[in-house]
C-alpha cells in the first residue's frame, strides 16, 4: 500500500504493514511490518533472529538488549519502524567466520550463565561497553549490565567475563 500523504507532504505510514529497511548485523534487510511491531518482534518473528529474548516485554529485564547505532537499547520498547535505516546489531552478528567474539568466548570460559536466557542481552551490553571502555573495571562491567537481570545468579562470573573480555583481543 502506498503511504498516505498528509496534506502538507509528510508520509503517514500504516496502520497496516509497510516495508521498513533496516541494517541488521551488517546486512540491509527489509521487513514488512505494521508500525506497532517492536524491533524485538520484528527480529524474532520476521527475521527469525530468536537469539534476542523476550522476557518481560516492558523494559524491565534486559534480555532483549540489542545495539542500535552502536548503543545498547531494549528492543521490546523500540519500534521497528523507528529504526529505519539504522544499524542494528544482535547476538547473531557477533561471531565472525565461525569464531566467537571475545565477549562470547569469555562467557564460555568463565561459566557466566546457567540457563543462558539472559546471556544474549548480557553479551550485547558488554560488547557496547568494550567499544568505549576497552579495559573495563569490575565496577564498569556491573554498571553496564545493571539493566540485565540474571535469575540464575551467574553475576560474579558475568563480571569476570566482562573484565577478562577486555583483556582479550580477537585473534
Amino acid at each position: 500500500m502506498p503511504p498516505t500523504i498528509d496534506r502538507r507532504g509528510a508520509a503517514l505510514r500504516g496502520p497496516s504493514a509497510v516495508d521498513v529497511a533496516l541494517e541488521v548485523n551488517g546486512e540491509r534487510v527489509v521487513v514488512h511490518v505494521p508500525p506497532r511491531r517492536t524491533l524485538l518482534d520484528a527480529l524474532r518473528e520476521q527475521l527469525g533472529l530468536t537469539g534476542t529474548k523476550k522476557v518481560c516485554d516492558e523494559g524491565t529485564c534486559g534480555a532483549c538488549t540489542v545495539l542500535v547505532d552502536g548503543r545498547p537499547v531494549y528492543s521490546c520498547l523500540t519500534l521497528a519502524i523507528a529504526c529505519e535505516n539504522r544499524r542494528v546489531e544482535t547476538i547473531e552478528g557477533l561471531a565472525k567466520d565461525g569464531e566467537l567474539h571475545p565477549v562470547q568466548r569469555a562467557f564460555v570460559d568463565t561459566d557466566a550463565f546457567q540457563c543462558g536466557f539472559c546471556t544474549p542481552g548480557q553479551v550485547m551490553s558488554i560488547v557496547a561497553l568494550l567499544r568505549t571502555v576497552p579495559q573495563p573495571t569490575e565496577d564498569d562491567v556491573k554498571r553496564a549490565v545493571a539493566g540485565n537481570l540474571c535469575r540464575c545468579g551467574a553475576y560474579p562470573n558475568i563480571v569476570a567475563a566482562g573484565v577478562s573480555a577486555g583483556r582479550r583481543k580477537r585473534t
Binding site: 503517514l12 505510514r13 531494549y74 519500534l79 554498571r143 539493566g147
Partner: protein
Amino acid sequence: MNAFSYVRPRTLSDGLRLLRSGASALAGGTDLLGLMKDGLARPELLVDLTGIEGLRGWSRAKGKGLRIGALTPLVELEEAEELHRAMPILRESLRDAATLQLRTMGTVGGNLLQRNRCWYFRDQATACWLKGGTKCFAVEGENRLHAILGAHECVAVAPSDLVPALIAYDAEIALASSRGRRTMKLADLYVAPHGRERREHVLRPGELITEVRVSESALARKGAFQKAMERKAWSFALVSVAAAARIERGVARDVRLVLGGVAPIPWRVVAAERGLEGSGFDEAACAEAADRALQGAAPLRDNGYKLPLARELVRRTLRSLVV
C-alpha cells in the same frame, strides 16, 4: 498494542501540525510503549519526533545559562563532562535512574512527562480514578509505594529522578504547539490529580516541550541529590531528595528543596527552604528543615516508613551541601 499510523517529521513545525487529536508524540518510547502495551494509551497516530533537527543536544552560552533540547537522550546529559562541571546534580540524579539502556533511549522531554508507576494505574484490569473510574484503589489497598503528602483523589507518586533536580535549579521549560509558544517554570507543569484534572501535568493537547532552561544565576548554586531504592539499581525512588543553594561565605541563599516519590507532584517545600535561608546548613537547621519538609504528611496503611526515610534523606542531602 493497538494499531496506529506512524510519521517521522523533519521539522518542528511539521511535527506540531501533525500532533492533532488522537496523535501521540514518540521520543524514546520508554514510557509510551509500555503504556500502549498495557492499553493505557491508544493513539491513532504516533508522531516520531526523533527526526526533528535542533531539539537534541545542549548548550551553554556565556551568561545565558544552560539550554537542553527536549530530545536529548538522558545518557548524553549524564556523560558530558562539561555539563557535569556546570551542573553536577544532573549526573547525580541520572546515575541511579532506570538503566543504561533506558537512559540511552529515553529523552529529557519524555522523562519530564513520564506517567506514574502506581500498580493499580498500570493494571489494565483496574479502572482506577485516574483512568476515569470512581475510586483510588491504593488508598485502601497495597500502598507501600504511594504518596504521604499532597494527594487528593489519587495517591500515585511523581516518578522522575531528574525532575526534582531540575526544579531545585528553578528550571524553565519552553513549550510549543501549532498555536504558538510559551514558557513556564518546570514546577508549574505538574499538578496533583484532583477534581476534573485526572492527569499529572498541564501540557495542552498538541503541545510539546522543546527545551529545558536553567539560568546562569541558578547554575551558581551547589546541588545535591539522593535517592532511596529497594534495590541497588533499577527501581523507582521510594524517596528522592534534590537540594540546591548558593552558598556565600558559609551562608545559604536561594535554597531549594524538592522531594520525589512522596507526593503526586515533585514536592517542593518552600517553608523548609525559607527556614534554611541565611543558615549555614548546620545540623540543627537541617534537622528542622527535614521536619518542616514532612509537615502535614498523612501516611497510608503501608507507607509510614517513608516519613522517617524522607526526613533522614532530606537532612543528609542538605548536610551534604556543606560537609
